[in-house]
Symmetry: C2
Subunit: 386 residues, 2 copies
């Protein structure tokens, strides 16, 4: 089979893949991390700052943008790229995950999901057709199919039913995406592998979706409360059954070591709110684990967050100053920590790409994780959740 | 008398002055507006963004920085410039104004003010000596003397007593500033004219301070609740009695037309939280008055805030997008509106300087105010206060 025009697998090293994904708004070097721009903004960042730290592609949340300001308005104003002044690639999720995690009174049938908005209680229906229409209105470079993500832990019969529905919806999504003329614009559609913690279901779902020949594949239904070993097992169960010549994206993860371990399992793309959300809680990523700036020991610390890391925050500001901003609740604290944390993730992916090219990924990733996890053991308290 | 080395009066036009102020961290072209950086940060702005919009000098609040993180820590970390990574000039206020507006249980004597911190109730004393020591520790390019600012309205005997105390403290401050070796470093000390709404007291205070030969003079005790006409009258009563060869600074004002009217009265410098604070309430300055982006009429408005204004916000974003950010409570909304509002003020000062140089200031300012105030009359609701 000839390599598809939109994805090039450049080299592999012990399972890890170095690739290049072409979209209607530019090229993404993989492995890649996608900063999350839930409501049409990566929280606390200007598009200029995102460019400056090397963001290649960002994610938009269909659920949130569908509620506010709505796809009709965004289409009228020229699409999501123009609306938020980001001219690079945008991937949008299907909205399904937030329907399950945020919306109220949802009812799921084979046609789709009825739910009430978490903002104002308005009744909304999201089926595979609506899901594609919204993402087409946004102008997504990469749209995601509507899937059913069962809660964790799931019974095998529920997980099997969710896989069956996910496959049916994937086909409908593909047909509607075609009807809407999106493939001709170079807009890609990725399918999503479900199957909960059941390796056999993960394999079946991956194989069935692979046969449908999507431009790319995501592994969903991970990071929903399960232990890390189970999460990695779910990815390991699905990845080998996806076509090697298509990009693979694990949705909604993870910590820096989790990303490196999934790269070793052959994953190419990630998104996660962790770097942006922890920044707003006063927490900075470092090679020695996360650093909670509320800790009094940083009050007189004249060092940068990470010595020698080349971003605006590390070039100009001390830990003492950043702690001061955090303690005062200053917006600039959110901005500078978000910039640093996102750059830390993006830089980690750049290092991973170089290590795969150099053939030394496995050893490097092992050492990197050992240092990071040794830092974790020192028991720095890290704030939880939102 | 020869012109002092630190201030040059370049030209005047119908009362308005075009000058140049030299400080240890660079030159300030006047008339100038100083963005307020209360807690060691101009809220929601990076220093790079401040430079980009043309900020020449910023203000720090001695009251806040004294409480948190404290002058000893800032001195240890190399001074306020290094702490906040702003290498341009910094003016700090005396802390007196916030002692009167924020602190609890204050007691004022001829020695100074005892008060309790609004943060944790700690007992603190601020006298003229402490005031100078704190500002020396911060490394202020321009320090302000400790003054007593009576509330409005004031009885004439209370206003007279406040003037007398302000004059005594001004002398002590000047002596201590000298003892601390600040003048040798090129660090300037400005005196403050009080006198409430009493023209005779304003004149007396201005003349007495002028005789003490300070590097610059502020007019304080305005914008404390009095009507605008009374505020302008207080400035008009003081300004002619200050030495023409020293910069004049009106503290804590004001609206764009107020600034232009005070420039016509011979004022050179201003600071105000209005552009930054209103930004955080979703309000943008325009030549046709302030624009409240929460107004539904902006939901589909594809225009920039101000057509043709050359700042990052106006170059890239529509009113519809900015309204979306405001309605979602997104940090980027604060950032982009703060950047715009500060640039609007700084650009207004740049226009005023050019108009004074061109000899057309009076006519231009009148037309500018007429357009702005016509916009106000259209009744756009603007949010109040913090």
């Amino acid at each position: 089979m000839p390599m598809p025009a939109h994805f090039e697998l450049l080299t592999t090293a012990a399972g890890a893949r170095r690739g290049r994904l072409r979209t209607a708004h530019g090229t993404v070097e993989t492995p890649a991390f996608m900063p999350v721009g839930t409501q049409g903004t990566v929280k606390a960042m200007t598009p200029a700052q995102l460019r400056e730290i090397g963001a290649q592609i960002i994610l938009g949340n269909t659920y949130h943008l569908n509620l506010r300001p709505g796809p009709a308005l965004i289409r009228e104003l020229g699409g999501l790229h123009k609306f938020m002044a980001w001219d690079g690639p945008i991937l949008t999720d299907s909205g399904g995950f937030q329907v399950f995690s945020l919306a109220k009174l949802r009812e799921i049938t084979d046609d789709g999901v009825s739910f009430r908005s978490h903002l104002d209680g308005a009744e909304i229906f999201l089926g595979p057709r609506e899901c594609m229409e919204i993402q087409a209105a946004l102008g997504s470079d990469i749209a995601m199919v509507l899937d059913e993500c069962p809660p964790w832990p799931a019974k095998i019969e529920d997980a099997r039913a969710a896989v069956a529905r996910t496959l049916r919806w994937a086909k409908t999504c593909r047909d509607v995406w075609g009807e809407l003329g999106q493939p001709e614009k170079g807009h890609l559609l990725f399918a999503i592998v479900q199957g909960s913690s059941f390796a056999e279901l993960r394999r079946e779902c991956a194989e069935a979706l692979a046969a449908l020949d999507f431009p790319g594949y995501a592994i969903g239904g991970v990071s929903v409360g399960e232990p890390e070993t189970e999460m990695l097992a779910a990815v390991a169960a699905a990845a080998p059954h996806l076509p090697a010549d298509r990009p693979r994206y694990v949705m909604g993860v993870g910590t820096p070591p989790q990303l490196l371990r999934m790269i070793a399992l052959g994953v190419d793309m990630f998104d996660c709110v962790m770097p942006t959300r922890l920044a707003r809680h006063g927490c900075a990523f470092t090679p020695d684990g996360p650093m909670n700036l509320k800790n009094a020991k940083f009050a007189r610390d004249a060092r940068p967050l990470v010595e020698g890391l080349d971003n605006y925050t590390c070039r100009h500001f001390t830990r003492a100053y950043l702690r001061h901003l955090v303690m005062c609740g200053e917006i600039l604290g959110c901005t500078l920590l978000t910039l640093h944390n996102l750059h830390f993730y993006l830089d980690l992916m750049a290092q991973a790409r170089a290590q795969i090219e150099g053939g030394n990924f496995e050893k490097w990733a092992k050492d990197w994780c050992a240092r990071y996890e040794a830092g974790l053991k020192e028991g720095e308290a890290v704030p939880e959740g939102e």
